[in-house]
Every structure is written in structure tokens, then in C-alpha cells.
């Protein structure tokens, strides 16, 4: 196991993601009776407030064919880092460069409108994810079929159950295969039957994507799918390497009952 060295020697393929010295600071929000003028001073950076550093000087590379897991406790910066790679947050220092189309699987169905029909929502959500209308036209039947919503697709979304909405969201989000797939936490949605199918589809996406980064707490899944793990603690990358080794490193600070619950199968 190497201590945060940028490139592991054994990695195959070309570089798909290059994260260099990325720092993300969140301002601690405090709105008082500050005048518009003083907020303008804050905005242009003349007025320094104490910041919370969510990601602290992180560097790593991810090569084609790798499936990299990100682990760490709540607040370690896992989601923030995924968002930086997806372009949602711009690093305060450092930069992220990518070698392909990035897709972040998180917040399924964001932008859904309950008063539009299922079909309209497929177009809407598809375009939010960056797919052109022509692409969605081609994928439409397949998206509806995978969500198993053929009979309801012209009905407004407000008549759908929570599970139906989740199925529709997942079906759209997973319809296009990205070159770089970022997955945030648990994605299996819907009833048991759909959970199985969506898990299978994620595995298919992982297989077909150039590179995958997945943030999760599920060590059994990570052991199965990942070629490498990155361990984060309070915004810093503190260890990386083979899943087994990194999980062991993480576990040695955990209480015994957590260790037992997450022990590797014999």
C-alpha cells in the first residue's frame, strides 16, 4: 500500500481523471444584518471569514479500466470530491482534468416536475443530464421499458408512487453509458425485483465505462468491484491501495463490533 502517491504502478490504460492539489473550502454561513455592501465585500474576497476545508490538497490519478472506491467517515469529503470531478464545485486551488464524458449518478430524478407526464419528464431529466433531444428520442422506448411504466407514461408524475418515480429516475440516468462514471452511495431503488435489475445494470455500466469512481460505505460491494480504494479523513487522502489493505487500515481505528460486522468473508 502506498501512502497517497499519485499513480500506482500497476494501473492499466491511459489517464482518465487527473486530480491535482485540489482544495475546496466552504464558507461558514452566517447571515446577520450585514448590509448589501458588506456582502459585496465578502463576495469579492476582501472580507475573510473562517472557512471549513472539505477537501484538503488532494491529488491522484485514475486510469482507464480502473474502478476506484472512495471510503471515509461522514464528512470526510467523499461527496464533495465527486462533485468537484463532476464540475459542480470549482476547486479553490488545484484543478481536475478528465479524458472523457463524465456522468455523476446522484440525486436521481432531480428536476422532475410532478405536473408533467412521465414522457415529458424523461425528456426534461435527459436534457438536464446533458443528452440531446435526438438521443432521448432513440432511448425513449428502452427507458420506458426498463422502468416498466408503459401504461402510465402519459400520466402526470404526481400520480406516480415514490417507487415508480425512483424507477423512472434511475432508468433515465442509467440509459447513456459515460466514459467516466461517478457513483455516490446507494443507488439500488424500487422494489426487490427492480433493485436486482438496477444493481445488475450498474454492474453493466461499471463494466462498460472507461473509469469508475464510487463513494460508498458498503465494504462488501467495494471489495467485489473495486480495483483500488482511496481512504479519506477530514478532507485528506490518507491512504490508497488494494481494497483489502485499505479497508484493514480504516478498520484498525474502528471499535471491535464495527470490525466484526465488516470483516472480509473467509
Amino acid at each position: 500500500m502506498s501512502e497517497a502517491s499519485p499513480t500506482p504502478a500497476a494501473a492499466p490504460g491511459r489517464t482518465m481523471i487527473e486530480v491535482r492539489n485540489v482544495v475546496i473550502e466552504f464558507p461558514r454561513r452566517r447571515v446577520t444584518l450585514g448590509t448589501v455592501e458588506s456582502s459585496f465585500m465578502k463576495l469579492i474576497g476582501r472580507h475573510k471569514t473562517a472557512n471549513f476545508t472539505a477537501v484538503n490538497d488532494v491529488s491522484f490519478d485514475i486510469r482507464e479500466g480502473e474502478v476506484v472506491g472512495i471510503i471515509g467517515r461522514n464528512g470526510a469529503g467523499k461527496s464533495t470530491l465527486l462533485r468537484v470531478m463532476a464540475g459542480i464545485y470549482r476547486p479553490d486551488r488545484g484543478q481536475v482534468r478528465v479524458g472523457g464524458r463524465v456522468s455523476l449518478l446522484a440525486g436521481l430524478g432531480v428536476g422532475f416536475n410532478v405536473n408533467l407526464s412521465g414522457r415529458d419528464n424523461i425528456y426534461l431529466y435527459g436534457s438536464i443530464l446533458g443528452h440531446r433531444r435526438e438521443v432521448m428520442d432513440k432511448l425513449m422506448d428502452q427507458v420506458i421499458a426498463f422502468a416498466e411504466l408503459e401504461e402510465f407514461i402519459e400520466e402526470p408524475l404526481r400520480t406516480y408512487s415514490t417507487g415508480m418515480r425512483a424507477r423512472l429516475g434511475f432508468s433515465v440516468a442509467s440509459a447513456v453509458r459515460p466514459e467516466i462514471l461517478l457513483i455516490d452511495e446507494v443507488l439500488a431503488v424500487g422494489d426487490a425485483r427492480f433493485k436486482e435489475r438496477s444493481t445488475a445494470r450498474i454492474q453493466q455500466m461499471v463494466k462498460e465505462a472507461g473509469s469508475v469512481v464510487v463513494a460508498s460505505h458498503s465494504f462488501s460491494t467495494l471489495r467485489q468491484v473495486c480495483t483500488r480504494l482511496l481512504l479519506f479523513e477530514r478532507g485528506r487522502l490518507i491512504a490508497q491501495g488494494k481494497p483489502h489493505d485499505v479497508i484493514a487500515h480504516y478498520m484498525k481505528d474502528e471499535p471491535p463490533e464495527v470490525q466484526r460486522a465488516n470483516a472480509a468473508p473467509p
Binding site: 464545485y89 416536475n113 440531446r132 432513440k138 459515460p178
Partner: protein, 311 residues
Amino acid sequence: MSPDFADATEADVPDAAGAGAASSTHGAAATDDRAGLREVNPRIPLLAGPRAMLRSLWTHRSLASNFIGRDIRLKYRDSALGYVWSLLEPLMLSAVYYFLYVVLAGVPNKRHPLWIILGVITWQFFAKALNGTLTCLTKNETMIKQVYFPRELFALTTVGSQLMMAMLSLLVAIPLMLYFGIAPSLWLLMVPAALVIVALLALGSGLALACLNVVNRDVEHLMRFVTRVGVFVSPVLWTVEMAPKSKTVMLHYIMYNPMTVPITMVRDGIAGHAPALGVVPMLVSISVAILAFLFGAMIFKRYEGEVVKKL
């Protein structure tokens, strides 16, 4: 990967030249396989803001048309009369204005209700477009945090759907023109031109304030008040001709209001005569609108990346 999927990939590269320059800074460490990498969400130079904004509107045209379509469909949903309301409401209002202004207040101009209707529709377009633009980051917080696309799309599509609705509402002029016996003329072309001026003004000032509003939401409360007061300060319920001729200073101040020219252009266009205010104020108004847009776009693109972390 099919080239169909190039949409988002292209969109995230505001400047190909800029990306190339960024990769050369890593020249020492970079091996050949890194040449194709592009920076995610790079900083945009202040002056490149407007161009980046127009480019993202083009690359995300599917998103833009979906957002505009959504807004319009939602406006008329679950209503039997639907779009008819957009005509019925101003028509009924003009009956009220006729009673208030022509019957009660004794305004000599019988067409005054028409001028008010046109003023109100134009002003409402401005107010809704401005308020929609300046709240575009705060209102879309959840979407901004889950998925990336250039955030100006929220502002551009709000103004776009308001523009569509304003044009649909302005069709109410047709029955009123028939009633007052006004023949359509080529001057009607001033109407869409005026709406574009209004759109650029609203977009520019809204974009300039949108980032500030994330830091301090007093901005949106203040601006809601400003757009309400503006109804009376601008020639919405009155016309420029009604300003007392003896008080030239007053006329002077009226002309400083950037909404005076576009509102008057809409009225002149419908009335079918040359712009009553003259060509020079029109050219000034067009220039001010374009400058407002350029300024707003620069401010927005410069600060948007920083303020989304405060959402």
C-alpha cells in the same frame, strides 16, 4: 461512444484554447496520454463571460427548449380556458381602465386603456424576467448541487419563457386594434425589437445581482419592491405625452429610465407611427441594453463558481 453523446462533453469546455494552455502548464509532469485531458469547470476570464454564455446556450439548446416548454406548459395546466386567460385577463382589465381613466378621470384619449394594457404587459415581462433571473441560483439549489450544466441556463430560459408569454399576451392588441380601427403597419416590427431590449435589460441586471443574492437574499426582497415601485415611476399607467410640457426637467428624468423607450416603442409600434421619442433615444436604449447584458454576463460568469458553495 457514439458522437451523439458529445453534448455535455462539448458544453463543459468553454474555450478549447484555454484547455490547451492549461495542459501545457503541466508539461513537465505530463506524459503523452494526458494531452487529451480537459479541465473540469475552469475559471473563465472576466471578458470571456458573454461569449461563454452564448456558447452554452447553443450547446445546451435541448435543455433550454425543454425548460421553456416546461414553464409554458405549466402555466396553462389544468385549466379549461388555458391560453385564453392570457387574453381575457388584459381585456377585462382594459374595461376597468376605461372606466377609471376615461370615464372617471376624464383622460381625453379614448385609446388610453390600450396604452395601459401594453405598458402593463411590457412592464410585467421586465419584472418577471428580472426577478426570475436574480433568483435563478437560489431557486434551483437542489438541481445545482446534484448535476452540472452551465448555471446561466436557468436565467436564459426564465427570460426566454417570459418572453414567449409576453408575446402571446401582446396578441390581445389585435382585438383592441380592430375595436379602435388601427390598421397594422410595418412599425409593428418595433414591438419585438422593444421586447428584446427589455429582455437584455432584465437579463443584464438580473445576472449582475444573482450572485449577490446568494450571499445576501435581501437583494431579492429589495428588487421585488423596486419592480413594484417601477410601475408608477415608468410610463406604464401613463404615457410620455402626458408629462406636462411646461416641466422639461421632468421629461428629462423620464428619459433616464431605461424602460421608457421600450414601452413607448411597443405603443408606437401598435399605433403604427414613427417612434415619437425620436431615433437617438432608441439607439441609446439599444446600446444600454447590450451593455447591461455584457456587464451582467461578465459578473455572473466570474462569481457563479464561487457562490454555489454558499448555497
